[in-house]
């Protein structure tokens, strides 16, 4: 800076008449009317039967169903992500046997309906009445009746988790491929081995690409768990159906269940936001403030202004 810099005043900001946006006002008017109609319908139409929804919305059975849905979602996603990472690494392995095995797994589990997979696991006994552990084609050490071995929960978990693994494998593979080859070379030049490079260098950087679709998958999984009501397994939709089977209030009860699903996916979206922020380290220079930080900053900016006026 030259010595003249402190003499120089900041230039007068431009005085500009902002452009009018009549389209925005028109759109707002249309949407306001539509919204008013919707609120009116929700509030006045007795067939939504809000009292009924409130009456059953928090009964022990529904609360149990919500918890079971959450627990099943988490468990199935853990199975899906762990197995998906293994399958993705297998698909990118130099070993052709592993590569092809992973391809076949994905082909089968992605190519058949998940409801069928769940039902097959639930009725595995129809295919294999007894399951045993022992020498292949030889004697068995332990053996058990399949129906007693596979509970409703294990059938649900196997059906959802193994299907999810096939999708997660492709998501993880896309993430691994998104990492520049130079990262492999630089790590290899340090003397790191393939497993170390994957774990320490490539996977952490792939996470940026992996997390958003995984959040998508988790939200999708939360709702797909409703399929296991047909196993049958007592999650949220199963409990809801049990209620309307007695009360015949089908649509209000399904709306109530949907509100629960919506609430749970909203929480998942918040979790996803923070996970994405974590893995953005090193790829954006300055992390944007979280909504919460923005609110706090605005409050703090306002406070001294209040002081000025008083």
């Amino acid at each position: 800076m030259t010595e003249g810099s402190d003499v120089m005043a900041t230039p007068e900001p431009l005085k500009v008449v902002p452009l009018r946006h009549p389209g925005r006002w028109a759109a707002m008017a249309v949407i306001a009317v539509l919204l008013a109609m919707l609120v009116h319908a929700l509030a006045t139409n007795p067939r939504f039967n809000w009292p009924e929804q409130a009456k059953y919305g928090f009964t022990p059975a529904i609360r149990q169903g919500v918890l079971t849905t959450l627990w099943l979602t988490v468990a199935a996603m853990v199975v899906g992500v762990v197995l998906g990472v293994v399958l993705a690494v297998m698909r990118l392995s130099p070993n052709p046997v592993l590569r092809n095995a992973a391809w076949i797994y994905i082909w089968v589990f992605r190519g058949t309906p998940v409801l069928v997979q769940i039902l097959v696991w639930a009725s595995l006994g129809a295919l294999f009445p007894r399951l045993g552990l022992g020498i292949p084609f030889g004697p068995q050490f332990v053996e058990a009746d399949t129906f007693s071995l596979i509970s409703g929960f294990s059938a649900a978990l196997l059906g959802l988790g193994l299907n999810e693994a096939a999708y997660m494998a492709e998501i993880v593979r896309a993430g691994l491929l998104s990492v520049n080859e130079g990262q492999w070379e630089a790590a290899g030049a340090l003397g790191m081995r393939r497993s170390q490079i994957l774990r320490r260098v490539v996977l952490p950087q792939a996470m940026r690409v992996i997390v958003p679709p995984t959040g998508n998958e988790t939200i999708s999984m939360l709702k797909t768990t409703s399929l296991v009501a047909y196993v049958p397994f007592a999650e949220l939709l199963f409990q809801t159906q049990a209620i309307y089977a007695k009360t015949y209030q089908v649509i209000p009860m399904l709306l109530m269940a949907s509100l629960w699903y919506l609430a749970m996916t909203s929480v998942l979206m918040i979790v996803q936001y923070y996970i994405e922020r974590y893995y953005a380290r090193g790829s954006v220079r300055q992390l944007p403030p979280t909504p919460w930080q923005r609110v706090r900053a605005r409050l703090e900016r306002r406070r001294p202004r209040v002081g000025e006026h008083s």
Binding site: E185, A189, L190, G191, R194, Q196, R281, S283
Partner: protein
Amino acid sequence: MTDLSTTASAPAAAMVQAEDVWKSYDNTPVLKGITLQVSPGEVFLLLGPSGSGKSTFLRCINHLETIDAGRLMLDGELIGYDERSGRLYEKKPRDVARQRRQVGMVFQQFNLFAHRTALENVMEGPVQVAGLAKSEARDKATALLDRVGLADRRHLYPNQLSGGQQQRVAIARALAMEPKLMLFDEPTSALDPELVGEVLDVMRQLAADGMTMVVVTHEIGFAREVGDTVAFMDAGVVVESGRPDDVLLNPQQARTQAFLSKVL
């Protein structure tokens, strides 16, 4: 083939020994019989137009590429293979990694680990590969970053550093493994002209400390000043090699003359 013998030292003493090295990609030969030798402590510069095979040859020394024919040895040991009773056996990944540890490599695009700070980048090798304790590795990495003039930037991520700073971190990262040989693949080609000097300064210091270096570069001034040997490559062969002043100021081959007249 051209005459390539540059130094008269015994083969056993060579840090890098290449004998008639050939390499093709999809039947297109890239290296067509490279024979050269790099002695310990020597600064060996590879010059030549793009596509001449100099980067490929450099990558062969670190086994990032495999060779098709000939022999390539690091400190008296075949690179990537074991020789037993006249036959070549592929080295296990573990042994390839062990061999690579002895060679530091610096890339044109820096290739710093983007999710780790400068300090963590330099610590990664010592902790993960050499098995150093974290505190020890941190001290070592801090000292190395100080040596390349970046001690105050050690907690920044690569994308918060300039290109020249990133490349200096990359050099520190390679040095952290205490290599006996450093490979530089066009280390200043991706840098703004203003930032080239700071990287060359670090390399100059490294050469003065007696590090054996093989450098692919277009920096003729640096080559003349720091290089012990210059080899000019074109179309997969070494056209001419010798002392920098001889090759760069008084080139004998027409191809070398033509190249230098454009670069200088």
